[in-house]
């Protein structure tokens, strides 16, 4: 074995088997004759599809509907003189994203690896190409720069202060609360903006973010409750999970938007956006609880027993030994739940909230843009893809970092 390894390392396979692009093509796409046929047929179909799409996108499609309505798609009827509050919020988010990135990657040998640099370059290109007035594009670019710089700051600080990660978690909570105040106003002399004017991508992102933040702790608690030795508590948790999972999300949202006004007198009714957020949170925490339970079950009993043998009480056993391992095991499932929660926010358009899809429908009813649905929906799809891909990429990256620590 040891005698063979230097040979392969030094000389590699013969020329005919080396992975040059042509060899790769031969090996993977054209090797037996039937694969060649399949490759040609599928290639032709793909080319034809790409050609027709390209033809449509470049000649038939009238893309001016997007730049002319970009503000509406992003923030809907949010008062334009208060946009600065949203930019401040974006700035805060950028600073904290950069810091978190740096802290999580504090032990990475190279902060800006090749892939990350490519990603940053693409993001910068997108920022510059966004069809808005130039100042906005520059602001976006500045935000990107802030992320990159604070990441370096975070890395340097993270190496010196091990507790920084905890502080940043608290910081995120602060950003969350500040964000709500910035968007809604009504405090510290900020002019208040009714939830009726939270629209477009702003509403999509906001409902998704709040629901994600709220459903995680609820889901973990319910998952622990379902494994509790206390019968009533366990039954309650099982009932909650099974009832919610037995009902489609749209039913819960309809309950919130249509039924609650009939049950509760005026004045006692929560705001419509809050009702929607509560519905989304209730729904996804039931699913999340089951994901977390899967993680809890994957932890060998020995872990808990060993913790107890060391003298840890149950609180510490669960919070220091069992939960960290369980959650780490189910990160992909949890992030999958978050992504589907983000996509589920489109259902809010059906119950009359004007999120991204709702405002798109309204724009499509503008006599000037009648029949431009392909353009608008494609743009929406692109936005959704961007957000969901970012979430899944970030989760994979965090997963890799967390496992290195392990």
């Amino acid at each position: 074995m040891t005698a063979l390894t230097p040979q392969t390392a030094d000389f590699g396979p013969p020329a005919a088997m080396r992975d040059t692009p042509i060899n790769w093509l031969k090996k993977n796409l054209f090797s037996p004759w039937y694969n060649t046929i399949i490759t040609l047929v599928i290639g032709a179909i793909a080319l034809y599809a790409a050609y027709t799409f390209g033809n449509w996108a470049l000649t038939t499609a009238q893309w001016d509907v997007i730049p002319r309505n970009l503000q509406l798609l992003m923030v809907g009827r949010y008062p334009s003189e208060l946009y600065w509050r949203l930019w401040v919020l974006l700035g805060l988010v950028a600073v904290f994203s950069g810091l978190s990135w740096g802290v999580v990657a504090r032990r990475a040998p190279q902060l800006y690896s090749r892939n990350i640099l490519i990603g940053l370059a693409i993001a910068a290109g997108v920022c510059l190409l966004v069809p808005t007035p130039l100042p906005y594009r520059l602001l976006l670019l500045a935000l990107l720069l802030v992320i990159a710089i604070t990441a370096w700051v975070g890395q340097q600080a993270g190496q010196r202060l091990p507790a920084l990660g905890t502080w940043i978690s608290f910081g995120w909570f602060g950003v969350f609360v500040t964000g709500l105040i910035l968007i809604g106003g009504g405090f510290f002399g900020l002019e208040s903006v009714g939830t009726n004017e939270w629209q477009g991508l702003l509403l999509t992102a906001l409902t998704a973010a709040i629901s994600i933040v709220l459903c995680f702790p609820i889901g973990v608690i319910v998952a622990l409750g379902r494994r509790s030795p206390l019968p009533i508590l366990r039954w309650l948790c099982v009932a909650y999970i099974e009832v919610i999972r037995g009902v489609p999300l749209i039913t819960i949202l309809f309950m919130g938007q249509v039924m609650i006004p009939l049950f509760l007198p005026e004045g006692m009714r929560p705001d419509r956006v809050i009702r929607a957020i509560v519905g989304l949170t209730l729904f996804s925490s039931a699913y999340l609880a089951e994901n977390v339970r899967g993680g809890l079950q994957s932890i060998p009993r020995g872990q808990g027993e060993a913790a107890r043998a060391l003298g840890l009480n149950p609180v510490l056993t669960v919070s220091l030994i069992v939960l960290p391992q369980a959650l780490k095991a189910v990160i992909p499932a949890i992030v999958g739940q978050f992504i589907s929660l983000f996509q589920d926010t489109t259902l809010l358009a059906i119950v009359g909230l004007v999120e991204l899809l709702g405002i798109s429908n309204s724009i499509l009813a503008n006599p000037q843009f009648l029949g431009r649905f392909s353009e608008v929906y494609l743009f929406d799809a692109l936005l959704f893809w961007g957000f969901c891909y970012a979430m899944s990429a970030a989760s994979r990256w965090v997963e890799a970092k967390v496992n290195v620590d392990h």
């Binding site: 009827r77 809604g184 609820i218 409750g225 206390l230 007198p265 309204s362 006599p367």
Partner: protein, 363 residues
């Protein structure tokens, strides 16, 4: 050990509940103004008319669809516009003196009546067809019709389809779950014609399918068919068949058992029609105040006290006409010659010109 774990779980639960409670008001206060409005509503709503609630609140909450071309949509600058929206503005101008004091709520066709019944909105101006069951068992009050529509059928001009019998064996595109779909099957049954109905959840894909030739016929309200025809690749190749499959009188709606509020919506709507008949428009309303015609003087509140009867200022129609114009102007702006649709007045003309619009006398 058991005891310990139970203590842990209960505290966790309590903590969870507390965070849930703590976060609810936090978002609530972020909603700011709205919460404030709601409390005002309760105090006023007990017993009084909705009219007082609205005056006290200072805004009119108007339920619209938000996605019907020409009726209600958000324009590029983020403002609501359309004929339904102008009715909301007219009512707000009459009651509050400000056409912009309106909060619009987009309502789906399923939730519109519950939203009205639950007091979420003050009125609907949302393409609602006046039918006996809605007027009686759903418990609504229908203000005068602001748009007379009817279900039509669009076909290709060269297809040679002229009567409903010619549709036998053809495919017809229709939106699912609307009265349109039911009317279509009723009409096909009556004519004993077998045709394939192709249903779509949304209007856009339905028209796209029709444009691609998936269906020979496309059915919807005539106003919508005409509006959409202009967006098809070759509008001239499509014609509306000379059939009307249903009557669709559309108008604003309020809730039953609140005559004071209903009277306001009803008479503001009539006022728009009457203004056109009296030839008072946005441009000349100030001059008309000097008019000698007793009808006009009463109508504009220069003499008499017609406004007092419905708890409004006597000159309420002056404010309305200054802000949105008369019915004719609203129509031309949103659906007629000044819009993309160029829809002829047809039935939606004054009775004096052969239409169906007729306002009872203002005296």
């Amino acid at each position: 050990m058991r005891k310990w774990s139970s203590v842990f779980l209960t505290t966790l639960f309590a903590a969870g509940l507390m965070t849930a409670c703590a976060s609810a008001p936090e978002t609530d206060t972020a909603g700011g103004a709205e919460g404030g409005d709601d409390t005002e509503e309760t105090t006023a709503a007990s017993g009084d008319s909705r009219l007082d609630t609205i005056k006290e609140r200072g805004t009119l909450i108007c339920g619209v669809d938000g996605g019907i071309p020409g009726f209600s949509f958000v324009d590029e600058s983020g403002e609501y516009s359309g004929i339904d929206v102008d009715i909301c503005k007219a009512v707000a101008a009459a009651v509050l003196g400000d056409p912009e004091a309106v909060e619009y709520r987009n309502l789906d066709s399923t939730e519109r009546f519950t939203a009205l019944a639950g007091g979420e909105v003050d009125m609907l101006s949302r393409n609602t067809t006046w039918t006996i069951s809605r007027d009686t068992s759903v418990g609504l009050e229908f203000a005068p019709t602001t748009f007379y529509d009817g279900q039509g059928m669009m076909v290709r001009a060269d297809a040679g389809i002229e009567t409903i019998e010619d549709l036998a064996g053809k495919a017809i595109c229709v939106e699912a779950g609307t009265t349109t779909e039911l009317n279509l099957t009723d009409n096909l049954r009556k004519a004993e014609v077998e045709a394939e109905t192709v249903t779509f959840q949304q209007a856009d894909p339905a028209y796209a399918a029709y444009a691609e030739g998936r269906c020979e016929g496309m059915t919807s309200d005539k106003s919508q068919l005409i509006a959409r025809r202009s967006t098809l690749p070759n509008p001239d190749e499509h014609v509306l068949m000379d059939i009307t499959m249903s009557k669709e009188p559309l108008g604003p709606v309020t809730i039953n058992n609140d005559s004071a509020w209903f009277d306001v919506v009803k008479w503001v709507t009539y006022g728009l029609i009457e203004a056109e008949e009296l030839e008072i428009n946005q441009g000349n309303v100030q001059e008309q105040l000097e008019s000698e015609d007793p009808n006009i003087r009463r109508f504009l509140g220069v003499e008499g006290d017609l406004g007092e009867g419905i708890n409004l200022n006597n000159d309420f129609m002056v404010v309305v006409i200054e802000s949105v114009g008369n019915y004719g102007e609203i129509y031309e702006r949103n659906l007629g010659a000044d819009s993309e649709f160029n829809l002829p007045r047809g039935q939606n003309d004054l009775w004096t010109r052969g239409g169906l619009l007729y306002a009872p006398p203002f005296r």
